[in-house]
């Protein structure tokens, strides 16, 4: 039954799950973030020997070792990560069965929105190698269902019986955040009561690494990989590729209350915009980011004075980190002074389409524990960073009602700003 007030329902977060370079679940990931641990390491396999970048933030736990082999071999790595993170989030939300198998959720009111920036690129490349070496007969019949970008979303819907809609927004490194934002709208507007939402990526492979490196987008600090991801540091020189997934369970406040679910925080909504500036360069003044921020403030009841924490996009590129700070200062003015900024990519690397999912989980946990994780590797803060970057260790956030935002931007000019608030 569609609720009466179906256009502006309150959305809450009731479950979190993650598998990241810091740990195989959200608890170990959170622990790693608070400890300021780097998830980056050298790639020792032969295939990396000739690459300009020979390090990455590989997943702490190989998903193929966790899933049963017959299941793992028919899922691309992106879907493997998504499935594991989604299972954790679903259980964390207190669901013990597939939707419809008990009375906790009506399958026609459950949705799935899981995004990836690139999709099953490693499956595509592996199958192309097989085609060239062994001919067309040997190409796996699972290739298309594995490589399609909606595969993680579709597999998550199969896992939980989600029938209210399965969606896959694709917006490069903003994909995961766009998925969470879209999921929130599904609930707010009455299309669904529960949505499993997040982002995933698994493309640590020579082709994407060579391609990103040739765009001059990646750090090439092969001699000191753990320090390579250093957002806001004067010496930052590009992002570090990471892999994994982060997933949340979003739910209408009434549905969560009806089943007595634990509520982490409220999901206030999203602000969106696009740069229309360049296919891969950030717009240097932060105009588009500022527009997304304003849209967020106009479209939700987020009050700037409640903002105490920001999980920044901050990928450790010279231009992008500054454009984001400029935009925040422009829109928030002095209210930026009481925002504790964490650039968790300093530890997890950049999970591309997975980043928005993992960073939503980190932001939810930061509000829940009232603690902002540190930004590591900042030995000399860029003087252009006119804001309060949390360094040296975790920071306790204030008591009372507090809000946080999670920024994600993607190649193509996508800007997604998500807002969360304690309840």
């Amino acid at each position: 039954m569609i609720p009466v007030n179906a256009t502006n329902r309150t959305v809450v977060v009731t479950g979190v799950g993650a598998t990241t370079p810091l740990g195989g679940d959200s608890a170990s990931t959170w622990e790693g973030l608070l400890a300021g641990r780097s998830g980056v390491s050298n790639i020792t396999e032969d295939w990396a020997a000739d690459l300009p970048v020979r390090f990455a933030a590989s997943a702490a736990v190989d998903p193929a070792d966790v899933l049963p082999r017959p299941q793992a071999r028919r899922l691309d790595r992106t879907a493997q990560f998504a499935l594991l993170a989604a299972r954790e989030a679903w259980a964390d939300a207190g669901f013990t069965a597939r939707a419809g198998e008990d009375s906790s959720a009506d399958p026609t009111r459950v949705g799935a929105v899981i995004a990836s920036g690139i999709g099953g690129v490693t499956t595509l490349l592996e199958q192309y190698d097989i085609l060239k070496q062994h001919g067309p007969r040997r190409v796996s019949p699972h290739t298309v269902p594995m490589l399609m970008p909606n595969s993680p979303s579709a597999n998550v819907s199969l896992e939980f019986g989600a029938q209210a809609g399965v969606h896959t927004p694709v917006s490069a490194c903003a994909s995961g955040a766009e998925a969470v934002g879209y999921a929130g709208e599904m609930i707010r507007t009455g299309r669904a009561d529960v949505v499993v939402a997040g982002g995933t990526e698994g493309c640590i492979h020579p082709l994407p690494i060579a391609a990103f490196a040739n765009m001059m987008a990646m750090s090439k600090d092969n001699d000191d990989p753990r320090r390579a991801s250093r957002p806001y540091d004067t010496g930052r020189n590009g992002f570090v590729l990471g892999e994994g997934a982060g997933v949340v369970v979003l739910e209408s406040a009434e549905h969560a209350a009806r089943r007595g679910a634990r509520v982490y925080c409220e999901m206030l909504g999203q602000g969106l915009s696009s740069d229309a500036h360049h296919i891969a360069q950030p717009e240097p003044t932060g105009r588009g980011i500022a527009a997304a921020m304003r849209n967020l403030l106009d479209g939700t009841d987020l009050k700037p004075e409640q903002l105490t924490h920001l999980n920044a996009h901050a990928t450790s590129t010279p231009q992008g980190d500054i454009a984001e700070i400029k935009a925040l200062r422009h829109v928030l003015g002095e209210d930026l002074d009481h925002v504790a900024i964490s650039a968790t990519k300093s530890m997890t690397g950049h999970l591309l389409g997975g980043a928005g999912g993992v960073e939503t989980v980190a932001t939810v946990l930061a509000l829940h524990h009232r603690t902002a994780p540190p930004t590591i590797n900042v030995s000399e803060l860029d003087p252009e960073v006119d804001a309060d970057v949390v360094r040296d260790g975790p920071r306790t956030l204030p008591s009372g009602t507090i809000a946080a935002i999670n920024n994600s931007f993607g190649f193509g000019g996508h800007n997604v700003v998500l807002a969360l608030r304690t309840v």
């Binding site: 082999r69 007969r137 019949p141």
Partner: protein, 82 residues
């Protein structure tokens, strides 16, 4: 040299185990690929391609539809191997 019926069953059991994770000793001639061994239509293509390689036979797509049980596949391979 042509494989015996027992060797073909054992070979198919290896293949089904690899693809669907079913223990080898459960792969017997009376079992249906779809209903008993968790081999859906996509995975059946994998089973067929692996069987073609292992036993040196060609199994055209039109013939795959007739292979409902392990016994059907054993019979087909036995009569078509060179």
């Amino acid at each position: 040299m042509a494989a015996t019926r027992e060797e073909i069953v054992a070979g198919l059991a290896d293949i089904v185990n690899e693809i669907a994770g079913i223990p080898n000793d459960e792969v017997t001639e009376d079992k249906s690929f779809t209903d008993d061994l968790d081999v859906d239509s996509l995975s059946m293509v994998e089973v067929v391609v692996a069987a073609e390689e292992r036993f040196g036979v060609k199994i055209p797509d039109d013939d795959v539809k007739g292979l409902k049980t392990v016994g059907d596949a054993v019979g087909y391979i036995e009569s078509h191997q060179s």
